[in-house]
Symmetry: C2
Subunit: 646 residues, 2 copies
Amino acid sequence: MNTENTGKKDERNLYLKNEDLDVAVSKYLGILSSKTTHRKSRMQSVTEAQGWVTAEPVFGKISSPYYNASAMDGICVDAMNMIGVDERNPKTLIKGRDFNFVDTGDVINDPYNAVVMIEDVMIQNDEQVSINGPVALWQHVRPIGEDIVAGELIIPAYHRVRPIDLGALLAGGITSIEVMEKPSVGIIPTGTELVEAGEHMSIGKIIDSNTHMFAGLVKEYGGLPNRYPPVRDDYELIKKAITTAVTENDVVLISAGSSAGTEDYTRRLIEELGEVVIHGVAIKPGKPVVLGIIEGKPVIGIPGYPVSAYFVFEGFVKPVILEYNHQANAEGMTIKAILSKRLMSTLKYLEFVRMKCGRVNNVFVATPLDRGAGVTMSLVNADGILKIPKNVEGYEAGAVVELTLMRSPEEIENTLVSIGSHDVLMDVLANIIHKNRGMVNLSSAHVGSLGGIMAIKKGECHFAPIHLLDEETGIYNLPYLKRYLKEQDVVLIKGVKRTQGFIIPKGNPKKIKGIGDLTRKDVSLVNRQRGSGTRVLLDYLLKKNGIDAKDILGYTREMNTHMMVASAVKSGSGDVGVGVLSAANMMGLDFIPIGDEEYDFAILRDNLKDPRVQIFINVLKSQEFKDDLIQLGGYGFENPGEIINP
Amino acid sequence: MNTENTGKKDERNLYLKNEDLDVAVSKYLGILSSKTTHRKSRMQSVTEAQGWVTAEPVFGKISSPYYNASAMDGICVDAMNMIGVDERNPKTLIKGRDFNFVDTGDVINDPYNAVVMIEDVMIQNDEQVSINGPVALWQHVRPIGEDIVAGELIIPAYHRVRPIDLGALLAGGITSIEVMEKPSVGIIPTGTELVEAGEHMSIGKIIDSNTHMFAGLVKEYGGLPNRYPPVRDDYELIKKAITTAVTENDVVLISAGSSAGTEDYTRRLIEELGEVVIHGVAIKPGKPVVLGIIEGKPVIGIPGYPVSAYFVFEGFVKPVILEYNHQANAEGMTIKAILSKRLMSTLKYLEFVRMKCGRVNNVFVATPLDRGAGVTMSLVNADGILKIPKNVEGYEAGAVVELTLMRSPEEIENTLVSIGSHDVLMDVLANIIHKNRGMVNLSSAHVGSLGGIMAIKKGECHFAPIHLLDEETGIYNLPYLKRYLKEQDVVLIKGVKRTQGFIIPKGNPKKIKGIGDLTRKDVSLVNRQRGSGTRVLLDYLLKKNGIDAKDILGYTREMNTHMMVASAVKSGSGDVGVGVLSAANMMGLDFIPIGDEEYDFAILRDNLKDPRVQIFINVLKSQEFKDDLIQLGGYGFENPGEIINP
């Protein structure tokens, strides 16, 4: 706990404003450009210039080609001697006197001034040929400077050098060019709770990962990252770090810890050492950004939550770095997609929502990922970003929205979209598919089995992993297809049997024996979310045993995956969780089985023809898949990949 | 001249086939994958892993957050103690016994299991607060593993690591990962005519620039370039170089000289040392590619013309490198554009045409650039590539075509399109605009003044530089607008006066005094293309002087720019050229003036409002523009940038 925090809320963020993103960026860049002194340039060898930005226009030094060159394989001749030659008046030529053989690229010199293609030459012997057509002056001769004329522009100033530019520059006789120095970006991690990656981890500590992400993004956008060691939450220490970083760099980033205290330091320190231009922008996540200037240099305070940090970097640091080298801030590729579910947003902020996207039934369908600012994996797994403008309260399901892509359209085209129940085996499937079957990817959203069935109904996914027990018949899955998807032609791809049960700490300290123990006052449950098959199973068992959910401590504590349930038990914040054996095994926990269930995949029959689905089915049937699951434990196999008609 | 060439065409390219590009690529990759042995991997520090491709899936080692953490600033409490609290039954809490202050990110430990936001807390003093609402178990607490659960997948195998992945990997406790070794690509320049960049240049020599472009492209696509010194056209020397390169690399590229001889060596050598899979693909440029395998490694012979070399690299080497690291061969961004002129192609090849593209009157208009395989600058200047399929004989003007972009759509959006006459000053304008006016670019196509007027008529450009003398009135430009553009509301932006004349070698060795000397048998002219204002001027003067063009040697030798004319004179392949003084000055040549003319810009009145055009006009009015032209010499100024109504 932060000892400096006295709980007096009046001291917090007094100056927090709510500027619009565009306004904030142009205001900040405007003030910066009025204060920033001349940018540095340097000479760079052309062969090492790729990715650098020219400081001056580059003009050719020599012409290319450097001489009149044959554009064909053939013979070179003097066109003036060939006047009057045609089919009726062929002419015989003597080698060395009237012609010479030339290859493409050979020099054409006095007395020769034209080339006849070898196909139009009748060869009599090595020394003598004849031609029977007219020859124009300079025909089939590449003139000097056809490509580049000495003195002409090759590439302009402020141009980012590409491999094809290297070729043209060298051909134009240029061996070094003046380029803009890359801006050095000082990155200061702050926060008493930070530890460096690889250092010993303990409760209350956070691994500093954001500043390494910043370093990567700085490189990507053409800067040189210069990361400093973490500084603890001490006003004077942070002040010293900022002063040093401003002296040593062109741009300075202060990465806040996730506590409000450090953000506050940033604002106060920039105010003391320079000027705060903006504190607080109407974006979500990322609101508490601090945009400052010290000694004419941009100094930016970035919030600690990783997703906020990413959007603040993209929104503010990226344009600053690009502007430094006069590069345009390109928007990136976008696609239009159909929103699979209603998505509400606040009117107060421009919100960045991470989205999964796939092409299902020939339309792109987009589904929001976790919106928490702390969930880095929502960025890693995102296919695109949906920007919901300020003053827009959201979009209805079915709306056409525009996504800024985080992956190539080809990758999205090649993605199998699974929406439904979570099981550890989905990771196993994703890996085998991605690794062995070319360029196909599997993307899973975990919304529970019933959510998966709804996704099939709405055409949002290629298939839905489900495990739903019909209480009346005791049959898994098929009755649900008949009940909820009777208007669709839907089948089941057979998956696996898996063992569900109670996940408990190693050694079972609370001596839990079965479902009856859930109502004990000293036992706290970790549950799964409504709509998940595991929740359906638990509720079925509670009903069968006459237990009222209200009597269970933690019944309302819902997790979205088996691994999160196991993780909560492992950490001691719950005494018992419901989940699969494989998750307990992976976490090194004990397990009380409550039954086996069928984990299958619902799919529209039409989609079985999709070659990506065929790949998926082949993986289900593969020995590799079985071997991997046997290693995890808790699975049984009866013809996985088989198609079952309801 | 290549001494090995005896002119016996039967020896050449006996095995040249005409495979389709797609067929050739998949056949080659297929055979390669059946022969290539297991690819290497290595451990890489996460902080240095950006851009590398994972060899194995990466699973989290520790959970993130690592502990139950407060998601809000506020107080932590035991929810079990708060049962029954509401507005009518507020509860007073004592610090240290019932609650503690917490910041976002702080640890929530026994006995606390919920957080109340600071906004919902009534602070009585530092030691005592009260609340008046219900508290749910674990509310506002980020559970352990909310982001990453130990054991769960972070990134799959064969995933190219991005900055956001670095953040997630480090947060998941990963400090090093297994990545694919980047393929080492050996690059062998061959050709007796090659010199290294920076070495002394002489007639008959070519600077080896292609292999440096290859090195740049190899880096861009994730390989490690390994360029060898140039090898002259000697069978045994090239054989030795290939053998060494195959031993030392994963992929080998043999860059041919532009002569047919070296290409032939490549095929024969690969055949001797391994196997030629394909020789000859139905693409233009790039047909004579050789795709071979030696010791299970891809060995590719690339033709010497730079543009052919580029498309062969993109078509064959890129997929080989990407395949090595299991990366998909993304197509790149495309846009639809209107073709500005008829474009014919051969039925026998898939042709790659370099195109300029701009948004004029709200539609994208695409115009082909020089189609010669030797014109590197057509690649440097290209905005996109139009692929004309085999068996398609071309497209009519006005057809909607798809371009694969070479620049970002933003860059194309921000480009001013000029089509018309050439003058050295267009380079000057392009530079000032690009450098001083933000992100706006000027793109010029040189089709002559009359071509420019046609481009205005068809809406292909923003403006057209023209200098057209009306023979009857002696007035420049305005009469042409009235004659050819009477249906459009078109105006003239005033440009500059410039001096035209005869460009002659330094010292005037042939004692040329004026137009009368053009008919001398010992004088060879370098002319400009039909439709150019300079050609119109020359023809006007010839007519006035009663000279028949047929009597002029070289009258049909047409160049597209002033600089190419000057370059031809400089090289001695012509005795006199027509062009502007500035071009003669830049080449250090002598000059006989024949008259001053008006070089202005025709533009639709509507386009004057375009902010990009406003920037152009401001540059015309600037002192910087004048200063640059004064330095070139041969220009006069009378209100440049003024708008003249016809």
